[in-house]
Amino acid sequence: MTFDLTARRFGLAAAAALMLGAAPAALLAATPPDALVIADAIDDIVSLDPQEAYEFSGLDVVNNIYDGLVELDPSQPTGPQPGLAESWEVSEDGLTFTFKMKSGITFSSGNPVTAEDAAFSLRRAVKINKSPAFILNQFGWTAENVDEMVKAEGDTVVLKVDQPYAPTFLYNCLTAGVASVVDMKTVMEHEVNGDMGNEWLKTNSAGTGAFILKSYKPNEGYLLEARQGHWRGDAKVKSVFMRHVPEAATQRLLLEKGDIDIARELTPVDIEGIAGNADLKIQKDVGGQIFYLSFNQKNENYKNEKFLDAMRWAIDYQGLADTVLKGNMVVHQAFLPKGYLGALEDTPYHLDVEKAKALLAESGVQNPKVVMDVRNAADRMEMAQSIQNTFGQAGIEVELNIGEGAEQLKRYRARQHDATLQSWGPDYPDPQTNAGSFAWNPDNADEAKVGTLAWRNAYDPGKLNDMTSAAVMERDGDKRKAMYEEEQKLHRETSPFIVMFQIGYNSAMRSNVSGFYTGGAIDSAAYWLVTK
């Protein structure tokens, strides 16, 4: 009897627990037909103010809620296309650019877009001086002079620059998120303590884009709602719901069950795992980030071109890309990522241990030892271990110094490393962004603190300095492209940099989803073309 009663109680409790568990069984819903549901890790977002946003996830949002004077059009990814400006011209002396505005476009508030809004937005970027402001500072615009340099005249925006730069340089920079046009009236209504509406715009939208920002919760997600009567044609879906799902396995499960339409952070293992699933498809793409080795030329060995060459032939680029980095990286051997004007896509180097040995012998460097700083991330450590192995085969000893990213960056910035395995993401969609860092260092002194990657490696680019300076001023687009090609060739043969890989993107989606554009290496995601 005793046992019965206690057992019965126990049974009741267990039954209650089970009932709670089983109750909601039949209530699973697929994604709503008119909404695009995406899972991604979006904890990099710092701000959704277009003049402040400077992270991948934030720029994806900005790209969909704002437009610029000129834009990269996903359907014609050949270079800057008309955005809010219908045409533009540059003066004879190359110092004045005039953009004529399209008419009849309105902000989400209903306010018409004017040249004054466009000029205000560029001035605002310079004045609030957030992370991406330097993209515009390059044209000689400062908080003091920008009111003079950037002006609205009737239905045109007139931009003055301090030197006759390559026009494509300006146009490319104007496609960056920082040059997005915001609704001056709405933004200034929300100004607090002279912040030009920055605080408000971090979590609200005031643009002309295909979507408006309906809600944003950091580390949880955001909701975009399509605008009716958008100038570019209405978006195909009514809303876009982004869920912050940091765990790849979780994203995969959600995608397989149809609870999301697109998963953006799957690992190569997950990608392989869903390969045979007819309900899903995978879209491959490359991003702008490149991975490279660099060697501090304070160590005289690294000025020896034969020695550097020996190391270039002692890396198993393709082997790595096919195995541990599979799906994550593609082999790339020039400082401009594929997608950029003038990017070199050929890959002349491959693993050739005998050649590396011969070059090492020719170099005269005895018993070389490389101390390589490596960030404690799985893919980097795998890369480093493979390099350690193949360098070893060629007779070059490698000691790995694995550590936390920020600390290693500090050593790198202070020129204290011997060698380092690093990645670099371009800042804006113009080749100058990487040329100006990999191949430009006007003063190699420690005190100069130039800060470019060339300077960090105590590398005096010599002739490349002039080539970089000339390319950014070249007004003929084709010539400019050829200049970057030549520059990259020389750089990869002589500099203490070994560019190895460009990052790959794998977006997995339900098979009914089409038209998703990730932005590739130079642009951000576009949701307005997606159908499902």
């Binding site: 009897m1 005793t2 046992f3 009663l5 206690t6 057992a7 109680r9 126990f10 409790a13 267990a14 209650a16 627990a17 709670l20 568990g21 089983a22 109750a23 909601p24 069984a25 209530l27 699973l28 819903a29 994604t31 709503p32 899972a39 904890d43 977002i45 710092v46 701000s47 992370s131 330097f134 971090k202 809600s215 919760k217 950091p218 580390n219 949880e220 997600g221 909701l223 809303s239 719901f241 869920r243 799902v245 940091p246 765990e247 396995a249 979780t250 499960l253 959600l254 397989e256 069950k257 609870d259 999301i260 936390e404 920020a406 600390e407 960056l409 500090k410 800042d427 603190k449 800060g451």
Partner: protein, 340 residues
């Protein structure tokens, strides 16, 4: 008077605990060999920008001054601004904590509902099949990594069987418009949807919470059943139990009334501890279930060295601990006349 003194003592211990907590967390955040400024301004920043950021964050001031500023602000409900998201920490924590609270509460309820009877069952039949079974189930709860259980649970109950909702607190179809349709009185979806009369959302929320809550409840049950068993066995050997049995009292009364009343006292501590542990936010469970709770908030912040967020989150966990302690103290007084 005694009660007043009790309350005063509690307030004092609360203050000291919190101050100590703030102090330790603060010191740890300042001695880690990572420069928070570089983490914020990024790779491209110039020396001048780094310096500006350092000043803006108050990191140029002496350590003791930074600490007092931090404590002063915290007392006014200002836990600072997250470096990573630019969001006031108090706002983020107000959003994240109810998600964790909801999960932890449900898990604890499930843990108690299953754990206490199981412990009692095992204690009343030591060495029996039931006892071995309870111990085995408990051992599994103890020893299996919770993230593994979580993944397997998701695969089975969500992926294969489709019995429960997937990761997240609601289906996307509900989640996307949730904040426009339901007033967040408590931030706990089950309560808020019930208050709003949105039973469709309520049921959906149940389907999402049940698996993570069941999982954490299982772990908590493993602990509670084991402790209940040992407390109960101890009580059942006491003389007053023998007396009660000799007097012919029904066995269920002996166990559930007489013995249980004494088991309750230590058991409250056990339950409170297990609840407090869950309130810290079960980091791995929250990550796997994409549950936007306090655990994942603090961990994400820690990974990018976002110290205001870490400190703020820690303070909230600390307060929750202290409050739980107070509550279990009060419960002691209710169940144990000697403590009054």
């Amino acid at each position: 008077m005694a009660r007043l003194r009790g309350l005063g003592g509690a307030a004092f211990s609360l203050a000291v605990t919190l101050l100590g907590l703030l102090f330790v967390t603060f010191i740890i955040s300042r001695v880690v060999p990572i420069d928070p400024v570089i983490a914020i301004v990024g790779e491209r920043a110039s020396e001048a920008q780094i310096e500006t950021a350092r000043v803006a964050l108050g990191l140029d001031k002496p350590l003791w001054q930074q600490f007092f500023i931090f404590v002063g602000n915290a007392l006014q409900g200002d836990l600072g601004t997250s470096i990573r998201t630019g969001e006031p920490v108090i706002q983020a924590v107000t959003r994240a904590f109810p998600a964790t609270l909801e999960l932890a509460t449900l898990a604890t309820i499930l843990g108690v509902i299953a754990g206490v009877p199981a412990g009692v069952l095992a204690a009343t039949r030591p060495g029996s099949l039931a006892d071995h079974f309870v111990r085995l189930v408990g051992l599994m709860g103890y020893s299996m990594p919770v993230f593994w259980l979580g993944l397997i649970g998701l695969l089975l109950f969500y992926g294969v069987l489709g019995w429960v909702g997937g990761p997240g607190r609601l289906d996307a179809a509900f989640d996307m418009f949730y904040e426009f349709e339901v007033t967040p009185y408590t931030g706990m979806i089950l309560i808020d949807t019930a208050l709003a009369g949105r039973w469709d959302m309520f049921v959906n929320a149940i389907s999402h919470i049940i698996l993570p809550a069941g999982l954490l409840g299982y772990v908590s049950m493993a602990y509670i059943s084991r402790m209940t068993r040992s407390f109960m066995m101890n009580e059942l050997g006491q003389e007053y139990i023998t007396t009660a049995r000799v007097k012919g009292m029904p066995e269920w009364r002996v166990i559930w009334v007489h013995a249980m009343r004494n088991v309750m006292v230590p058991l409250i501590t056990v339950i409170a501890l297990s609840y407090a542990y869950l309130l810290e936010g079960s980091v791995l469970t929250e990550t796997i279930f994409a549950w936007p709770g306090l655990g994942s908030y603090i961990t994400d912040a820690l990974l990018v060295n976002d110290m205001p967020a870490v400190l703020g989150g820690t303070v909230v966990v600390g307060v929750a601990f202290v409050v739980l302690n107070l509550v279990s103290d009060l419960l002691y007084r209710l169940v144990d006349p000697r403590a009054r």
